[in-house]
């Protein structure tokens, strides 16, 4: 016990390994020692071993000895070798004596016994047979009573608020039993009563009730009967509450004739204290059982003897319900009680804890090893860490390089993509259709323009045969561009008409080129297809316009012709008849008439000339003939022949040397020269006209000149004279309508040249005209 307490107090350090076992042995040794001391220090009679019987002396030691000494004597007599003696103990001492084993046997009331049994392991060997009213009873109970005159109290329930007196707080028969009944009826005597007192003895309680000091009292059974027999009271003064035949106790009257308010419980037991030998116990039990009722020992104790031990379960029940005695823990637990009760559990837990301590120390040793391993691991890890860092650094730099390369690649890829996209864009933005064909006539690529031209989606065209999607009459013939390129042409351009899916056609110009791979092999053709519908339309329009123009020209020509013809007719009539008049009536009319006639005729004549000049002016273009090689020298000769008479008349001299061969309209050149030379002659001065016709080459043209020594004119009129019908002189001075130079200008301009003049009054004039040199003339001029 000491050892247990000690070991419990210690903290659990993993220092003592086998602590549990050591303390156990120590404890046993102490017990033996105590037991030994105890046995050595006892008084002896002769050689007899002394045996002590502890007795509950509820009325004091004297009374106890008086009652029970004879029994001890009896036992001493009955059991040789032992000397029995009584040890009176009161309520306080009895527990300790049993605990300390200062007594070998104990005799107490059932409640105390139960407690001792519980705490110290005393064990009953026989039960008392009590002598009451001349009869033996092994059972007894409690009585709860009041004055008969007290009419308020009928049942236990009426006790609420009343005063009650019991024998003693630890009296089993004199309190506990009644308390149990009260509690069983829901009354807590410590709370529900007006007052709870203890009389000390059974008689005192009875007297207190009788005297009205308390309302209710409780004593053990048979007390009232005894006192009545002793003449101290009159039973009629009292009324028992909760009588046995009223409550649930239903005791057989024959078995128990006394007034009873509680359950019946077994009488006092005679018990052996733990440690007392079984042999001795058996002898004592036998001796007691054999005690005769007439024996002095029995008489002294007021018993009839002893019987086999009864079951003290009812007592257990009672105490448990009241939560007193060994069941006090049910109400409140004291540390000592706990330790006492659960000492074996404590031992076990102690052992467990020690075991755990052992395990813990083992674990801690492992921990130490673990720490060491961990330290090594940490070091290894640090080394690894270092290596890893190095590697990481390497990797990082490699990564950077890689990233850079990827970046460059990506950029290149981007540039490529952009270039591709650009080319693609260009391909698809080009206004002309473009297509790439392979040598099998499959369309590999087609741009948006071509697809749009054909009014198809690019996807509908790619993969098809070219002669399916954009056929023409060239397909299948040697005129097909693919065919020609396969035959060896590198580049070609031709006109074609492609047919769309709806049947309409597109006139176009196709430029096809051989498409080669980097090795130079022919793998396809690229075609550029230009829609020339517009152009065709323009050409058509132009042709129509030209046609209409030529038509209108022809009409005009005809008109001019007819006009001139028809105009001339009436003109001639007028002129002729006026002249006829003149002849017929000459001299017969007055001079005025002659004058009048003269003007009329003159007018008619002029009219005719004008008409003819107009006609010839208009004919420069309409009657213009296609150009041919014209020998100007020859033409000049013809002109001079024509003008021969006029030239001879005025002694004119005309020179013309090395005039070239030009590409021109011969008639018109003749007209031109005739006009210029004729003018030179017409506008001569006093002297004989000297006319020089010449030509010189200047860059890409021939510059002709006709120079005269005639009258000349002011240079401010140099432009005017080329205007139709513009004249610098009156008709009287010089004949002519003023059409000559206009016609000449028209002729020169028709040939693509220019005409101009340099002149001064009295100095003569030089007329120049240019004719552009054409390649074909080279043949003539050698």
């Amino acid at each position: 016990m000491v050892g247990m307490i000690l070991s419990r107090r210690q903290s659990f350090t993993p220092v003592t390994r086998g602590g549990g076992t050591l303390w156990g042995w120590l404890r046993v040794a102490v017990c033996i020692l105590v037991g030994g001391i105890f046995f050595v220090g006892a008084p002896v009679r002769g050689d007899d071993i002394p045996v002590y019987i502890g007795v509950l002396a509820k009325r004091g030691p004297q009374r106890a000895l008086q009652q029970w000494e004879p029994t001890a004597v009896y036992l001493t007599e009955q059991i040789p070798g032992y000397s029995f003696s009584i040890v009176p103990l009161d309520f306080k001492e009895i527990n300790q004596a049993v605990e300390k084993r200062r007594v070998n046997f104990v005799l107490a009331n059932p409640a105390i016994y139960v407690e001792l049994e519980y705490l110290y392991g005393v064990n009953r060997i026989v039960t008392m047979e009590n002598l009451r009213q001349g009869k033996p009873y092994t059972l007894f109970g409690g009585v709860i009573f009041c004055r008969a005159a007290n009419s308020e109290i009928r049942g236990l329930k009426d006790l609420v608020g009343k005063t009650l007196m019991a024998v003693e707080s630890n009296s089993f028969g004199g309190w506990h039993m009644a308390w149990r009944e009260l509690q069983g009826n829901g009354i807590n005597p410590y709370k529900d009563l007006a007052g709870l007192r203890f009389g000390g003895t059974h008689d005192a309680v009875v007297m207190a009730v009788l005297q009205g000091k308390v309302d209710v009292g409780t004593v053990r059974t048979d007390t009232l009967e005894r006192m009545a027999l002793e003449g101290k009271i009159d039973l009629a003064d009292f009324r028992v509450i909760a009588r046995h035949d009223q409550g649930q106790h239903n005791v057989d009257q024959a078995r128990f004739p006394f007034l009873l308010s509680t359950q019946l419980y077994p009488e006092w037991p005679f018990a052996k204290v733990a440690g007392t030998s079984d042999e001795l116990s058996k002898q004592v039990a036998v001796a007691l059982l054999h005690m005769d009722s007439n024996h002095a020992a029995a008489g002294a104790a007021s018993i009839t003897g002893w019987t086999t031990p009864l079951s003290y379960q009812p007592v257990h029940d009672c105490l448990r319900e009241l939560q007193i005695g060994p069941y006090a823990y049910l109400g409140h637990i004291t540390l000592v009680e706990v330790i006492r009760q659960y000492r074996w559990w404590l031992v076990l837990s102690l052992a467990l804890m020690l075991g755990m301590a052992a395990v813990t120390s083992f674990v801690l040793r492992l921990n130490a090893k673990l720490s060491q391993s961990r330290r090594m691991l940490v070091k290894a890890r640090d080394d690894l860490e270092l290596k890893v860092q190095e590697r990481t650094a390497d990797l990082r730099s490699l990564n950077d390089e890689l990233r850079q390369e990827i970046g460059e690649r990506r950029q290149a890829g981007e540039a490529l993509r952009r270039a591709n996209a650009e080319l693609d864009q260009i391909f698809n933005t080009t206004a002309d259709g473009m297509t790439l064909l392979d040598l099998d006539y499959n369309v590999l690529r087609v741009n948006r323009a071509l697809a749009g031209m054909l009014e198809l989606g690019t996807r509908q065209v790619v993969g098809q045969k070219c002669y399916t999607v954009f056929p023409s009459l060239r397909c299948g013939t040697s005129a097909c561009p693919m065919h020609m390129i396969l035959k060896g042409r590198e580049l070609l351009q031709l006109e074609d008409e492609k047919t769309k899916t709806d049947g309409t056609t597109i006139p176009c110009i196709i430029a096809a080129a051989a498409y080669r791979n980097p090795e130079g092999e022919l793998i396809g053709i690229v075609e550029s297809i230009k829609d020339i519908s517009e152009r065709k339309r323009s050409e058509l329009a132009l042709a129509e316009y030209t046609h209409s123009l030529s038509q209108s020209n022809a009409e005009l020509q005809q008109f001019a012709y007819v006009a001139s013809h028809d105009l001339q007719e009436p003109l001639r009539m007028v002129a002729s008849y006026v002249q006829l008049l003149a002849r017929r009536y000459k001299g017969k009319l007055d001079s005025d008439a002659d004058e009048f006639i003269g003007y009329a005729v003159d007018g008619a004549n002029r009219m005719q000339h004008l008409i003819q000049d107009l006609l010839s002016y208009s004919r420069v273009q309409t009657r213009g003939k296609p150009f041919e090689l014209v020998d100007c020298q020859e033409v000049l000769g013809e002109v001079l022949a024509d003008l021969q008479i006029a030239l001879e008349e005025c002694n004119a001299k005309v020179t013309g040397e090395s005039l070239p061969v030009v590409l021109a309209d011969k008639t018109q050149i003749r007209q031109l020269l005739q006009n210029l030379v004729g003018n030179a002659v017409k506008f001569r001065g006093e002297q004989a006209p000297l006319i020089r016709v010449a030509a010189r080459r200047d860059d890409g043209e021939w510059i002709f000149s006709v120079q005269d020594n005639g009258i000349g004119f002011e240079s401010e009129y140099a432009e005017r004279i080329f205007v139709i019908f513009q004249r610098l002189h009156g008709r009287q001075e010089y004949p002519g309508t003023g059409i000559g130079l206009a016609v000449s200008k028209k002729i020169v301009e028709r040939h693509g040249g220019k005409i101009w003049v340099e002149s001064a009054p009295g100095k003569g004039s030089t007329f120049y005209f240019s004719l552009p040199v054409r390649e074909e003339e080279a043949v003539g001029n050698g």
Binding site: Q568, R572, M573, A575, S576, Y577, Q579, V601
Partner: protein, 150 residues
């Protein structure tokens, strides 16, 4: 106008639609020396009818010379010329084309059609009279006309 050889006047057929021109021609002929008989028809159809002595012209004499204007109503002078020269009976008769046009193509065409000569009528009266006189003197005195051979 003195008439010589009136016993055998020259038969002249003038095909001219313009009466003014007819009169002029008549006046001009009057000033000539050769005795002639002038017949006038107004258009090409009449001309051919006359030459073939059809219809009202049954009694006419075959002309010795035809003076033909080109611009005639109904049948054009060129057509008449063509028909005359295609007709074996008539093609011997000399045809003098007397017209206002001096267009090159007319001249060529007329000669292509075998006209005997082409004369442009001058505007001037004097010239016109001269021309007629020339025709007279040339064709009637110088030239041997086939009809006279008959």
């Amino acid at each position: 106008m003195a008439e010589s050889k009136c016993l055998q006047p020259i038969e002249i057929l003038l095909v001219e639609d313009n009466p003014a021109d007819v009169r002029l021609t008549q006046e001009a002929l009057k000033e000539g020396k050769v005795c002639n008989n002038l017949s006038v028809v107004r258009d090409g159809v009449e001309a051919l009818a006359f030459l073939r002595r059809q219809g009202g012209f049954a009694e006419v004499a075959i002309p010795d010379i035809i003076l033909l204007d080109l611009n005639l109503p109904k049948k054009d002078g060129r057509e008449v010329l063509q028909e005359i020269k295609n007709d074996p009976e008539l093609r011997r008769i000399p045809v003098v084309v007397l017209t206002t046009s001096k267009a090159e193509e007319d001249i060529l065409r007329v000669y292509d059609l075998h006209a005997n000569c082409y004369i442009t009528k001058p505007v001037d009266l004097e010239q016109f009279i001269d021309v007629v006189k020339s025709v007279e003197s040339f064709w009637f005195t110088v030239v041997k006309l086939p009809s006279q051979e008959q």
